[in-house]
């Protein structure tokens, strides 16, 4: 039995997700909700045999009985409006906006912890790309402060992302601490308009405390990158991690060194071309989390089961 999924939001993220859900063995896109009847995303959905509607979530809630799981791919403030309505309808949600209503999830860090939560949040594309690296370093030493710079091609950032730029930085910063395990976090987002468009780039800086083990830090990062590449094939280190020694007065205290991981994410090219690794990592994580939440074949509890109060 497949899990019937609704995608709310027919922009870049929603449309990329549509393609990935269509390939999943356990998840099935059945409904796509937009607000613009002429949206390319809705047209693509219709062409793939998905019911595509343009009058917002009202009709999704009418259809509630036909849907087991909602993917929110709108914007943080739209999700804040929609979330209570999904909850009233008993629909579990995987939130791809930076609204941060539910627990923050990164598949390689805490996939199993929040499977039963009615609303899980996927942070941001930059968070999906960088939190695992911070987590990996935090497994081998204390991380007093972590900072990330996420740069995406201008053409891959739609209006939702642009108007959410503060939410991006705030939600990602919080995730570096709450999920990554750093004591303080800061996220920076940059849009680059170069033509041809650049691949998504992420740079992770972790402050390293006295007595850090350089080899262990480097190995932890390399191992995590391999793990990430299992579900985001274009995720890779541009160069081996470098450790720079200098006295840094970070918000987490003075440290003798930092590790710098220079990452690149090439997308699978499902909707936007491969430069849009930011879409790819977000939707790949969304599928991974949805599959983990799907009911076991034996009928154990999961989305859409009686356990979710309606």
């Amino acid at each position: 039995m497949t899990v019937r999924c609704a995608i709310v939001g027919s922009g870049n993220i929603g449309t990329d997700l549509l393609h990935k859900l269509a390939r999943s063995a356990t998840l099935e896109p059945v409904l796509m909700v937009g607000i613009d009847p002429d949206s390319e995303g809705l047209a693509r959905g219709r062409a793939m045999g998905v019911t595509a509607i343009h009058d917002g979530v009202d009709r999704l809630l009418d259809h509630a009985v036909d849907v087991d799981l909602v993917y929110e791919a709108t914007s943080a403030w739209v999700h804040r409006d929609n979330a209570p309505r999904y909850a009233d309808a008993g629909l579990p949600v995987i939130d791809l906006t930076p609204a941060k209503l539910g627990p923050l999830v990164v598949p390689t860090v805490n996939l199993d912890e929040h499977i039963a939560a009615p609303n899980v949040n996927l942070i941001t594309c930059g968070g999906q790309a960088t939190v695992p690296i911070v987590h990996a370093v935090a497994q081998v030493c204390d991380v007093p402060y972590a900072e990330i710079v996420s740069t995406v091609a201008s053409v891959s950032a739609g209006p939702g992302t642009r108007q959410n730029i503060d939410e991006f930085t705030k939600t990602t910063s919080a995730a570096l601490v709450e999920v990554g395990g750093a004591r303080h976090g800061k996220a920076i987002m940059v849009l680059n308009p170069a033509e041809p468009p650049i691949l998504m780039r992420n740079t992770v800086f972790c402050a390293l405390p006295d007595g850090y083990d350089a080899a262990a830090v480097r190995d932890a990062i390399v191992e995590m990158v391999d793990e990430m590449a299992q579900y985001v094939p274009g995720y890779r280190l541009k160069s081996a991690p470098v450790i720079e020694t200098e006295v840094y007065g970070t918000p987490g205290g003075v440290v003798p060194a930092r590790v710098v991981a220079l990452l690149e994410v090439e997308g699978a090219g499902d909707w936007l071309p491969p430069y849009a690794g930011n879409l790819d990592i977000m939707t790949a994580s969304a599928v991974r989390v949805g599959e983990a939440m799907a009911p076991r074949p034996t009928g154990s509890a999961g989305p859409g089961s009686a356990e979710v109060s309606a």
Partner: protein, 347 residues
């Protein structure tokens, strides 16, 4: 004030020594320096003084350099020390957040300058709107304006104006504009906008004063300088030289030329005595069109990885990196080091 019977000033000057100048001192300004600079510029009649981390509010970081003194402490001192000058901040959406702006507004700033890369004006909408709500004067700041033509720049400037900006600046972050480049961009914005227009010039090609004067001829309403030119890259348009050159041209600046020369000589020059030299690396920024604040970071990375700073700057220019991508300096330096090691192994 100059004290003479000059005609009314046609434009307004903003001194950014305590913001753009922060790059030149690796963000190490102290409270005492901030107080001395503000007191002196205020007394000379400089109408607006900008104070922030070089990369704007929230810029203190690994990527851009940690501040010696929190910028809010510097702002507090600046607001306390001024008598007539208006105090401005800079913020870049993506680096700073609205909470940073709220905290600065609570301290009593007058002007918020919201900066984006020249093609990305739409990420400033929420920040410009918030600044207007807070009752601040708002300037939109289109960085790296040399990278797009006048028509495209106008299209972006119109967005900032539509969000509520009182003035939109042509910002030559790379100091790459010729006089004609500056003139055409300012003219396009003057012709197409109802709000004010400004120019922020850097001196990598030794054209900052000339570009600023050309901008005034095209009707610019606001100009920026930094005292002694203290700023990113080879430096900014030097405030005291701009004032002197304009007064000599019969353009009233509202600033006392002798007083601001004294500010430069006795207050700012001691902070960084060799400011004003356009060395090869500073010139390369202008020549290759690279964001000025990359310079010190590139010099440090060149030393750390044993590569040539010129090679780093030229590669950054080829990659068309934009303001904020200081992490790419490490990326390029590490790659150059690896290429050199591979070449050596092959011989």
């Amino acid at each position: 004030m100059s004290g003479t019977s000059d005609p009314p000033t046609r434009f307004r000057l903003t001194d950014s020594t305590l913001r753009d100048g922060s790059h030149a001192v690796a963000h190490q300004f102290t409270v005492d320096q901030a107080r001395a600079v503000v007191t002196s510029l205020d007394a000379a009649g400089v109408p607006v003084i900008e104070v922030s981390h070089g990369d704007g509010l929230g810029g203190s970081s690994f990527n851009y350099g940690f501040s010696h003194t929190p910028e809010l402490d510097l702002l507090e001192v600046a607001i306390d020390a001024r008598t007539t000058s208006r105090i401005a901040i800079l913020m870049l959406p993506g680096i700073g957040i609205r909470e940073d702006l709220l905290r600065a507004a609570d301290l009593g700033i007058d002007v918020a300058r919201i900066a984006t890369h020249c093609t990305e004006a739409d990420i400033s909408q929420q920040h410009i709107a918030l600044a207007k709500e807070l009752g601040l004067e708002v300037v939109g700041f289109l960085m790296m304006s040399h990278m797009i033509g006048p028509d495209h720049l106008l299209e972006q400037a119109r967005k900032m104006a539509s969000y509520g900006a009182d003035c939109v600046y042509v910002v030559d972050s790379a100091g790459a504009m010729t006089i004609d480049d500056a003139r055409r961009r300012v003219a396009a914005l003057k012709a197409g906008l109802d709000c004010q227009v400004g120019l922020h010039a850097h001196n990598n090609l030794s054209l900052a004063v000339a570009n600023s004067m050309a901008a005034l001829e095209e009707g610019a309403d606001q100009l920026d300088g930094c005292t002694t030119g203290l700023g990113a890259g080879a430096g900014n348009c030097p405030t005291e030289i701009l004032v002197a050159a304009l007064e000599r041209s019969g353009v009233a600046t509202g600033v006392d030329p002798l007083a601001v020369m004294d500010t430069a000589e006795t207050v700012v020059r001691p902070i960084r005595p060799k400011q004003g030299v356009i060395d090869r690396d500073g010139l390369l920024l202008g020549y290759a069109g690279v964001y000025g604040s990359f310079l010190l970071h590139a010099k440090r990375a060149a030393e750390r990885y044993g590569v040539d700073v010129a090679d780093i700057l030229l590669e950054l220019g080829r990659r068309k990196v934009v303001g904020g991508q200081e992490d790419m300096i490490i990326d390029v330096a590490v790659e150059l080091e690896r290429t050199a090691a591979t070449a050596q192994a092959a011989t």
